[in-house]
């Protein structure tokens, strides 16, 4: 089997995802970049966007993050994000309900993020 990098996506509430990936594409604030095994150790801030996890050359997971930070070393890639939505098992009506709640609470940041997540579905 090809070399893999240990990908982890951690939110304040839990470790949302932990899998071995062949490549992870993250929305760095200087532009998208791919983290593969033996990538140079890098810490980068993220902008709002989609993290794409590749396993065996195919996209296996897509996760929408609202900024955050990524810590890449030679054998792992850790994304820290305050808000994240897993686009593979997210439900449109669920997200819309959440957006409505955010709207009612006057939480503009959350609402914008959920908007972006819905349009990325």
């Amino acid at each position: 089997m090809a070399e893999t990098t240990a990908f982890e996506l951690v939110t304040p509430a839990r470790i949302m995802m932990a899998i071995d990936a062949s490549m992870v594409v993250v929305p760095g604030s200087m532009g998208l970049f791919g983290a593969m095994p033996r990538h140079a150790p890098t810490i980068s801030t993220l902008q709002r966007g989609v993290v794409e996890v590749y396993v065996n050359g195919n996209v296996s997971n897509r996760i929408m993050v609202d900024g955050g930070i990524v810590d890449v070393t030679e054998d792992r890639c850790t994304v820290l994000a305050e808000r994240a939505v897993n686009l593979d098992n997210a439900d449109r009506s669920d997200l819309e309900a959440q957006r409505q709640t955010a709207n009612n609470n006057g939480n503009a940041r959350e609402e914008e993020f959920l908007d972006a997540a819905i349009s990325a579905l």
Binding site: P12, A13, P41, T42, I43, T45, G68, L80, E82, R83
Partner: protein, 294 residues
């Protein structure tokens, strides 16, 4: 001696109190498990965050470091965040927070510092607002329990950052109950600003030297982006600890209350039976002496 009817009513009322306290105990126990899981689940995020901060902070020079990291250089104005519960009936939980807050404010005042309070949770506010009315800057309620959202915490750190930028604050501390075990909670005071860099930084730099990190866009920007997040993360962790402690304290308190109610019921039942027997005896004596008199 109280009459039989009174005793019966008393026993009935203690029994229903016991039912309530034992139900509250069960609810607290079930919620506690979830709160504990939440607190544990949040740990990976904060440990990774502080690892990155530590490695960055050891590189930043003290003169150019952002205020969130190194403070303003002065140490006159202290903001104390007080985490208490919104609800009572949890034993010494709120009382110990209130006592420690009072002590901390006094000792800071003695050092000649200006103290301000940010209250999270209703109980400590209710208890302290009379004496500290002038120094309470804000109160947040409903930020606890098993469903704390990160957005609520952002609201708190926004207030802190705002005050830091306005120059209203040099040091920020948070006072909360740390969850030790289901029967022990410990009042803890942590300093959020300036950040204390851990002592094992040396080991960290060795590690970093072996694998020099690249920073995108650059170290200062990463640090600037990270510090507000770190502040929220620390408050979030403290809130989760405090929620777990509250439930643990409530569980213990309600367990005690249930046991006390049980003891009281036993005692009252004994008194009730004695008085019932006494009443029967009296009646019999009356009948017998009546029959003998014939």
């Amino acid at each position: 001696m109280a009459n039989l009817k009174d005793l019966k009513n008393r026993i009935k009322s203690v029994k229903s109190t016991q039912k309530i306290t034992s139900a509250m105990k069960m609810v607290a126990a079930a919620k506690l498990r979830r709160a504990q899981e939440n607190a544990e689940a949040s740990r990976p995020y904060s440990t990774r965050m502080s690892a990155i901060i530590n490695s960055l902070a050891s590189k930043a020079s003290p003169e150019t470091a952002p205020a969130l990291l190194a403070g303003t250089g002065n140490d006159n104005r202290v903001l104390l965040i007080v985490l208490s519960a919104d609800r009572g009936l949890c034993g010494g939980f709120n009382g110990s927070i209130i006592r420690s807050t009072r002590r901390q404010v006094e000792s800071l005042n003695k050092e000649g510092k200006t103290v301000e309070l940010l209250m999270v949770g209703r109980k400590a506010k209710d208890a302290l607002q009379r004496e500290f009315r002038d120094i309470i800057v804000d109160t947040k309620e409903g930020v606890q329990g098993t469903a704390v959202s990160f957005a609520d915490i952002d609201g708190i750190s926004d207030i802190i950052i705002q005050r830091l930028e306005n120059g209203d604050l040099d040091r920020c501390q948070i006072i909360y109950n740390r969850f030790v075990s289901a029967i022990a909670q410990e009042v803890t005071i942590d300093t959020l600003i300036p950040i204390t860099i851990e002592q094992d930084v040396d080991a960290g730099t060795d590690d970093m030297a072996a694998a020099p990190y690249e920073y995108e866009p650059d170290e200062a920007t990463v640090l600037e982006d990270l510090l507000p997040r770190n502040l929220s993360t620390q408050i979030y962790a403290a809130v989760l600890e405090s929620s777990a402690s509250e439930l643990a304290a409530r569980m213990t308190a309600m367990d005690n209350a249930t046991r006390n109610a049980g003891d009281l019921i036993d005692r009252l039942t004994m008194v009730y039976n004695r008085s019932r027997q006494a009443a029967i005896t009296t009646e019999l004596i009356e009948i017998i002496s009546g029959a003998e008199a014939l």
